[in-house]
Amino acid sequence: MTVDVLLQQFFNALGLGVMYALIAVGFTLFFGVIEVVNFAHGEVFMLGAFGAMVVGTAMAGAGVEAGSVTYLLAVLAIIIIVGALFGAALEKFIVAPMRGAPDIMTLLITLGASIVVREAVMIFFPDGRNPQPFPQMIQMDSFNIGGALIKPETIICIVISAILISMMYWIIEKTALGRYIRATAQDRQAALMMGVNANRVFIITLILGSVLGSVAGLMNGMSYGIIKFNMGFAASIKGFAAAVVGGLGNMYGAVVGGLLLGFLEIFVVSFLPNGSSYQELVAFLIVILCLVFRPSGLFGEKAYDKV
């Protein structure tokens, strides 16, 4: 085992980990603020990737060079639009009508929504049943770091995630909006009495989380070069798992959980014999272990029931 292989795997794991972290942050935000486990979160991941693909292909068709500023801006715009629209629609049509219903029903309705969106893409997208090639977003040579060849996409993914997560930190901790969000998460009733517009907080939370999810979808497309209508299912399971490992409701826990999951997965695939057949099971294994030994997650507070 040489240093360059280790380094290469380190970057792969980091790239995968930040993607899971972005999805997990969405899950944990929704749970912390709206008290909803959003099973449709995987679908915004898929829609983001499809949106980026459509725009990327259209731009290439219009003669805009991949990797140019216009190209990247257009992709970025569609990612944000898809995420924001999805989040707003989810709040309006799915989450808001279920306010006050038992948890189990809210969970089931997001499950229904995820199926409808997934199947709609499969049916209505041209040739949606089959995997779609994802256009090359940037044209750059691989970086050579200490003998390891690192794909530029991996570096870009890591940088984008670092920026987004810092931005989320800034929004949540430093702005007035973040104070409203934290207040609503802590005690919805009290926040309402202090004049926080809870409905607006809910919709903004869903939009923020969904945009992160849709960026994660773009990153997935860039890293693997191929996307499919059902890619959201595995992503949502893993993002949820990462959020649970970090402690549902804890944003920084979700980031750590995502990274942990990414590193464990890459470790199993590359260093265990015949590891790739177990890749999908890693997430479940650590979730089950985590739930058995630390049900509130690595960084979660111990939950007490209110009577």
């Binding site: 749970f31 486990v37 099973f39 799915i94 009508p97 279920m98 219903a101 948890d103 189990i104 029903m105 969970l107 089931l108 309705i109 499950l111 229904g112 929504a113 995820s114 199926i115 409808v116 199947e119 709609a120 499969m122 049916i123 299912f233 399971i237 949820f240 798992a241 649970v244 549902l248 057949s277 999908e280 099971l281 997430a283 479940f284 979730v287 089950i288 739930l291 058995v292 049900p295 029931d305 009577v307």
Partner: protein, 388 residues
């Protein structure tokens, strides 16, 4: 015997028969729309009548069930042993068993399960492996399929004991996927992707279930045997679930669903009852799988996917959570209805998703809502029975 009720039920049976016999998808849509509109206007015009009828049905579930069973016996004769519809009805009954089991877990005990198909897989592979590879009699394998599913239910219950609703959803999805992965990868036993082929038909005292069923005036292919077998098993399952739900045990599970903390304060051992709920709910999935394997003769891992778990969930949501007749009706409707629109096969899964959303937003209690049981102490109960 309540004759009014009998008449109403025969009428419903005729409506159901018409639903099966109408072939043209357009007519089916019109027919369903007409029935829905009819119920809607009846409810508008006679707002006091419909609840009375509903309560009458719910109060006499024993009679309703018995009549439905007898009418069910005549169904294959009326459809003249049509193989296609026998197959669909068999699937409907197998799905109804799964819906009953999931309804017990999720509707009654409030433990969400998104991997219910795994129990059917366990049952199906138990029957498949035992009868095909070890030559065990179907009837023993069938009994074991329920037991195997029960063991898996208890195993799934173990990590679930310490966690609440949301986490449970994740654990059960994971469970479903792990079972499917195992079936795919453990090729020496499960046959991997190819599955198990040529599972033998059951025989009873030398009578082979794989042959034609000839009743003298009507003959049907081997599916006729399975129709009556499924009907019998479904009836037994329903009686069992019904008795269990109306026992003190069922009441404890209801209490647990409504408020875990309050139930605990009344001295209910949540750990044990959660395990019981998982184990008992899983049995029915196992039986459903056992019948499925013997009927289809061929099982493969993709038959027991996450999608199937979602379909079963949509059935109990449509019927009404915690409603036993609702689970059966939901399973029948959601199995038969898509068969009418086979030209739109692609839209099938989306249809189940839409049903879930529609029901949860517009009729959260389903089409046959669960009726709260009226509390009566033992003495009052006896008096009520004596007074009729």
């Amino acid at each position: 015997m309540n004759m009014k009720l009998l008449g109403a039920e025969v009428l419903l049976y005729v409506l159901f028969l018409a639903f099966i016999l109408i072939e043209n998808p357009v007519f089916v849509a019109v027919y369903i729309a007409a029935i829905v509109a009819g119920i809607f206007f009846a409810a508008k015009k006679y707002p006091e009548k419909l609840p009375v009828w509903y309560d009458l049905f719910m109060a006499n579930l024993k009679q309703v069930g018995a009549v439905a069973f007898v009418l069910g016996l005549t169904l294959p004769i009326i459809i003249d042993g049509d193989a296609y519809w026998l197959q669909v009805l068999n699937f409907a009954m197998i799905n109804a068993m799964m819906a009953l089991g999931l309804n017990f877990m999720t509707g009654r005990a409030g433990l969400i399960c998104l991997g219910y198909a795994a129990f059917e897989a366990v049952g199906a592979y138990t029957v498949g492996i035992l009868t095909l590879k070890l030559g065990v009699s179907f009837w023993i394998a069938f009994a074991l399929s329920g037991i195997a599913a029960m063991v898996f239910g208890a195993v799934l219950g173990l990590p679930a004991l310490r966690v609440k609703g949301h986490y449970l959803a994740l654990v059960t999805i994971a469970f479903g996927l792990i079972v499917q992965e195992t079936l795919l990868n453990w090729e020496s036993v499960t046959g991997g992707t190819n599955g198990l082929i040529d599972i033998p038909s059951p025989t009873l005292f030398g009578y082979d279930f794989g042959q034609m069923l000839d009743l003298g005036f009507v003959s049907m292919n081997y599916l006729g045997h399975f129709y009556y077998l499924c009907l019998l098993v479904l009836a037994l399952c329903t009686i069992f679930i019904f008795k269990l739900s109306n026992s003190f045990f069922g009441l404890i599970l209801s209490a647990m669903r409504e408020d875990q903390l309050a139930a605990q304060c009344y001295g209910i051992n949540l750990t044990n009852y959660k395990l019981y709920a998982f184990a008992i709910g899983a049995i029915f999935g196992g039986f459903a799988g056992g019948l499925y394997a013997a009927m289809i003769n061929f099982i493969a891992p993709e038959n027991f996917s996450y999608g199937l778990s979602v379909i079963v969930i949509s059935m109990i949501i449509l019927g009404g959570l915690d409603s036993i007749p609702g689970a059966i009706v939901g399973a029948f409707f959601l199995t038969i209805f898509p068969e009418k629109f086979r030209a739109f096969e692609d839209y099938r899964i989306m249809f189940y998703g839409l049903i879930i959303i529609f029901c949860l937003i517009f009729m959260r209690n389903g089409i046959l809502p669960y009726t709260r049981r009226i509390f009566m102490s033992g003495l009052e109960n006896k008096e009520a029975e004596e007074n009729g």
